[in-house]
Subunit: 285 residues, 2 copies
Amino acid sequence: MAGTPTTGDLLRVPAGVVDLSAVATDATPGFGHGKSAGRAALAELGEELADLQERLFAEGRSGGSRRVLLVLQGMDTSGKGGTLRRTVGLVDPQGVRITSFKAPTEEERAHDFLWRIERALPGAGYLGVFDRSHYEDVLIARVRGLAPAEELERRYDAIIDFERRLVESGTTLVKVMLHISADEQKERLLARLDDPAKHWKFNPGDIDERAHWPAYREAYEIALERTSTEAAPWYVVPADRKWYRDLAVGRLLLEALRGLDPQWPAADFDVTHERARLTGEEPVA
Amino acid sequence: MAGTPTTGDLLRVPAGVVDLSAVATDATPGFGHGKSAGRAALAELGEELADLQERLFAEGRSGGSRRVLLVLQGMDTSGKGGTLRRTVGLVDPQGVRITSFKAPTEEERAHDFLWRIERALPGAGYLGVFDRSHYEDVLIARVRGLAPAEELERRYDAIIDFERRLVESGTTLVKVMLHISADEQKERLLARLDDPAKHWKFNPGDIDERAHWPAYREAYEIALERTSTEAAPWYVVPADRKWYRDLAVGRLLLEALRGLDPQWPAADFDVTHERARLTGEEPVA
C-alpha cells in the first residue's frame, strides 16, 4: 500500500513538552496525494482491516483475551463521529462496541471517574471505540474548573495506572487526538447552521466553548504530555481535511491489528471425524 | 426500486396453523433476477436505509422515543451473522446496538427469561439487533425440555404482552425467521469443516442438533403461530440463497423505517442569531 501514511508519519506524542500550535491542522503527513486518492487508499485498506478484525474476533471466541480500544478525542466538530463511521464502519459491526460518553449521570458522578469507563471496556476479541473518554475528566474538567487542581493531578496518574493495567491484560490502546483549527471549526459550525439536516448536531453552547479555545489547547497539551506512555502513546492526527483524518485513523487501526497478527484458531475437534459424522448421517427430515 | 421484494412478497405469518415445510427455502419471492442483481439491489437500497437510520437517530437525540428492533432467529448456519454484516453493516454503526444471545449465564437464569432481554433493548433512536433472542426460551427450551410444558405456555403469553408493551412505547419490531433446509445446513457445515478460517465457527454439537431438526421445525411453527401478532408479526425469509436473504431482510428494515418516516428535528435555537454570534465573534486563537 505505497503512499498511505504510516504510524511513523503521524505525530506520536514524544516525552517532553507538547506544543499543539506547532502541529499543522491541515497537513497530510505521509500522503502526497489528494482527496480522491485518499478515499481510495482507505477503501483499499478496509479489506485487510476487516480480515484482521474478524481474526481477532475469532481468537476472542476461542479463548483469546486480546482486544483493541480506539480512544477518539477532539474539539467539537473535529469529526469523531465521521471518523468512526468511515473507518470502524469498514469492519463487521458484530465485533465492534462503541460508547459515546456524555456528561456523567448522577450515578456515574457518585463513583470514581474511571468507573463508567471500566464498564464500557470491550470484551475479548472486540474492537472497542470510545467517542470521548476518561480524558474528558482532565479536559473539560480542567477548563471549566469542575475538579480542584489536586484532583486533576490524581487523575493523570490514575489514567496512567489504569491504561497500564489494560495493556498488561491484553488491550491494545490506540489513542487519537483529532486536531483541527479554530477557523475550521467555525466553518463546520456554520455548515451545521446552514443545513437543516444538521441542526440536530448544533448546540449553541458550542459557540460559547470557542471562547475557551486556548484553555482547551493547553488542557490537551498537558493531558498529552502527562499520559502519552510507551505502552499507550497518543497520536495527533491533523483533521482539517476529513479524508486525511479518516485515512490516518484507519491506518493506525490497521497497524495496531497487524501488530497483534491474529491467527485463525486451530480446530479443537477432529475435522476428519466430524466430516465423516456429517456425511454419513441418516437423512435429516 | 422496481424488482426488489416488498414486505408483501415475503411470508408475513398469518393467523392460524403454520406449516414451514410448505415454504420453499430456496425461493426468491418478489425478485425475478439472480445473485448479482440481488447484490446490486441491496447496495442501492443501502443509501436510503442509511439516510433513514440517521434521521431516526437524530430524532432520538432530540427528544423522540421511537426505535427499531430487528429480531433474527434461525437454525445454526442460517446466516444470522452474515445477514447482520451485510444489511445492518450498511448504516452508521454509531446508531446500532447488537446483542448476540448465548446460553444464559447463572445470573440470567436467576431471573425471568425476559430480564436479560429487557436490559438489551435499544434506546431512543437506535436500531437494535438481536442475534437470537427471547425466542430461544421457547425453541431450544422446548426441544431440549429445558422448561416444563406449563412454563412454555406461560412464556408464549408473556412474549405477546412484552412485545405489545415494546410496540406501545415506541418500538417497531421486525421479527425474522431465516428459513433454510437441512440439506443446505449440511453443505454449510461441510464448508466450515473444509475451511480452516471457518473452524472457529464450527461446533460438533451442531451435528448432534441436526437429529432434532423435525422437533425444531415444530417448535418454530408453534412459536410463529402463537406470537405472530398484528403489532409484532413474524416474517419467514427463504434463506438458502444468501443474497436473497440479505436483500429481503434489508427490504424489511427499509420498509420499517419508511413506515416511521423520521424527519430531521427542527432547530430549538434561532439559526439567524447563532449565525450572527459565530460570524461576529472575536477571532479565536
